[in-house]
């Protein structure tokens, strides 16, 4: 593992994440995925939005871009459209992706552009101090929901499915290998891939919801997650309160950049 870290991380930086934050594990899962994928680092473009999660691009040794809050996907779309040979990964937080970037998210899903989006979901705005996000569960507390959240949350998997993403998966940091494998599969998939990575934020979520201990949060992840395969054999009662992980959608559909290239080829044009 050490070798992987050295290879895919920039060595000259301290990171900003709190002790017990799950983001580092997502980063490790991503590094392992890159190792499996065997991509040349020079061909990888990692793009993020704003938030604790989005600082990840500062630590990765590839071409990286830390964009504006919610805007990582359209930036990545323009880059991918112009340089299709690049392997484009987008890192977003839950608020980043589904609130301020929600419109961009559904349209990237719909367009089916060949980008791998990793949504680091900790159910809270961590960097700004623990305000509730569209993925904060109903009833949970946040600094802007001190009496309990009355917003109903999105299910990111359902949102991505409904919007037309052709690869949709969910993993969590208590199952690092599974998460890494999902990133590999998502990257190999031709089209828009969404991988929700459940990650604990003990500082800004745990603290207000009686789970300030990182180990305890990881244990909760272990307890509530059930793979879609295992869930098939479980009863409705057994599945009560569980969160499914694994692959939910994996289908083929025309990919956006390839379709555009076909259009260009149909004119046999090209001064590129």
């Amino acid at each position: 593992m050490k070798a992987v870290y050295e290879k895919y991380f920039r060595s000259n930086l301290p990171h900003i994440w709190c002790a017990g934050c799950g983001h580092g594990t997502v980063m490790a899962a991503y590094a392992l995925a890159l190792e499996k994928l065997g991509y040349d680092k020079n061909d990888v473009l990692a793009i993020s939005g704003i938030g604790c999660s989005s600082r990840i691009t500062g630590y990765l040794d590839s071409s990286t871009m830390h964009t504006a809050h919610g805007r990582a996907l359209p930036v990545a779309s323009g880059a991918k459209m112009c340089e299709p040979r690049l392997k484009v990964f987008v890192f977003m937080g839950d608020g980043d992706c589904t609130a301020i970037g929600g419109n961009h998210f559904i349209h990237a899903c719909r367009r089916n552009i060949d980008i791998t989006a990793i949504v680091m979901n900790n159910n809270i705005y961590g960097m700004t101090g623990g305000q509730y996000s569209p993925l904060t569960p109903y009833g949970k507390k946040a600094t802007t929901a001190p009496y309990g959240n009355i917003d109903h949350s999105f299910d990111l998997v359902e949102l991505a499915k409904g919007a037309g993403a052709t690869y949709v998966a969910r993993g969590d940091v208590s199952h690092m290998k599974q998460l890494s494998d999902l990133i590999v599969e998502g990257a190999q998939h031709k089209g828009f891939s969404v991988i929700e990575a459940m990650t604990p934020c003990p500082t800004s979520f745990g603290r207000y919801n009686k789970t300030p201990d990182p180990a305890q949060m990881l244990q909760i992840f272990r307890d509530v997650t059930v793979s879609v395969k295992r869930a098939e054999k479980m009863t409705a009662e057994e599945l009560e309160g569980k969160i499914l992980t694994g692959v939910f959608v994996n289908r083929e559909a025309p990919e956006y950049v390839e379709d555009y290239q076909k259009l260009i080829d149909s004119f046999q044009g090209g001064d590129k």
């Binding site: 930086l13 680092k41 020079n42 061909d43 473009l45 793009i47 691009t57 500062g58 040794d61 590839s62 071409s63 990286t64 871009m65 830390h66 964009t67 504006a68 805007r71 996907l73 359209p74 930036v75 990545a76 779309s77 323009g78 880059a79 991918k80 459209m81 112009c82 340089e83 690049l86 419109n103 961009h104 349209h107 555009y260 259009l263 260009i264 149909s266 004119f267 044009g269 090209g270 001064d271 590129k272």
Partner: protein, 379 residues
């Protein structure tokens, strides 16, 4: 031989972008700029270039930022409401020093305003619309042919100074159909962002003598595994809050443009040498002003016109020089007096500067301008 054909301003803009080497357009439909997008959608795939319709203007800006970061010449076109949405990422492009062109075909505002009628209400927004200190380049064409040349210039300046450039058109220029006077086979000078002498130890935001850091596109092999952020950063591209680094960076964002105002800012002088009364105007207001000047000259009146082709950076010294010694300086604008503030700021204090404003959705006529001068006791 001149190629004589009729073209709309928005079409001429696309032709200019093609000549300039733009190969990516991302936009969102909005009157009165949609023809630029339609033309790009039609012509770009035939030329091996790419067009994307985005979900909104924020995404449009984002997409061209992504395109520019990987080394492409990219642009978008919009109008007031869309341009307001673009302010966030216009600041990002300024901060990350990514060359790109934003075409803003102005319409009446605020808000939805007058979608199909002319106004010049965005001339300060283009400069100050996004938060924080930075400079920016804004060009204002006044004819269809000039739209073509100015579009090319917009791309060249963006590349040369690693900055977003705004081509600010009036609704009537965008929709105007007039003679397109570009010589057959015209080959413009094309400027590309400068590359570093060596890719080794590349510093993407290096402080160079001219203030413009050499560029390696992301994803282009050696030297390209660097970081771009909208956070304040040092030469390496990584976040810094070190006061010295911040100070140097923010000052450079402005000075790399302001220090080159003489090379960037263009004006056209029309009967200015012996003029006693000077009109200062831009865009469609300069057309009416020019007609007014011609009429008054025919009557022997010593009136001249200083036409601003570049609104920002504002050519302080040049305008001050032209204003000096005049009996009066008059600035007609289709707003409540926005650019006139700049003229007042630089004009010698003994020269009166009069603002002539119109915001009813109609254009100035030359007669209105002449009457304004008469009423004001200038003639």
């Amino acid at each position: 031989m001149a190629k004589v054909k009729l073209l709309q301003g928005n079409q001429a803009c696309l032709e200019g972008a093609i000549s300039a080497g733009a190969d990516f357009f991302a936009g969102y439909p909005i009157t009165p700029s949609s023809e630029v997008a339609e033309q790009a959608a039609t012509k770009f795939p035939k030329l091996g270039r790419k067009f994307m319709q985005m979900e909104d203007e924020i995404a449009s800006m984002a997409a061209i930022i992504g395109a520019s970061a990987v080394g492409h010449k990219a642009f978008t076109a919009t109008s007031g409401p869309g341009f307001s949405l673009m302010q966030e990422l216009l600041g990002y492009a300024a901060n990350a020093e990514l060359p790109l062109v934003v075409v803003n075909v102005m319409r009446g505002g605020p808000s939805t305003g007058l979608p199909t009628l002319p106004a010049q209400g965005d001339v300060q927004q283009v400069r100050w619309g996004t938060h924080g200190d930075h400079s920016i380049i804004v060009l204002s064409p006044y004819s269809v042919t000039e739209v073509y040349y100015q579009t090319i210039r917009a791309f060249n300046l963006a590349e040369q100074y690693r900055t977003p450039v705004i081509l600010l058109m009036d609704e009537v220029i965008g929709h105007l159909r007039e003679r397109f006077d570009v010589p057959e086979g015209y080959q413009p000078e094309i400027i590309n962002r400068k590359a570093p002498e060596s890719k080794e130890n590349y510093l993407p935001f290096r402080n160079t003598e001219d203030g413009v850091p050499p560029f390696i596109a992301l994803g282009q092999g050696e030297g390209s595994r660097y970081h771009i952020t909208g956070l304040t950063h040092g030469e390496s591209g990584f976040y810094s809050s070190n006061p010295q680094v911040v100070d140097q960076f923010i000052r450079r964002l402005s000075s790399k443009i302001e220090d080159h105002v003489d090379e960037i800012a263009e004006v056209e002088e029309c009967y200015t040498e012996d003029a006693e009364i000077l009109l200062v105007a831009y865009g469609c207001s300069a057309r009416a002003s020019r007609a007014a000047v011609e009429k008054l000259r025919a009557q022997g009146q010593k009136v001249g016109l200083l036409r601003l082709l570049t609104l920002w950076p504002f050519p302080d010294k040049l305008v001050a020089k032209h204003c000096a010694g005049k009996k009066a300086v008059i600035m007609p604008e289709l707003n409540l007096g926005q650019m006139v503030r700049e003229v007042q700021r630089v004009c010698p204090s003994d020269v009166p500067v009069k603002s002539f404003t119109k915001i009813d959705g109609s254009l100035f006529t030359p007669e209105e301008i002449i009457n304004f001068m008469k009423k004001g006791g200038c003639l």
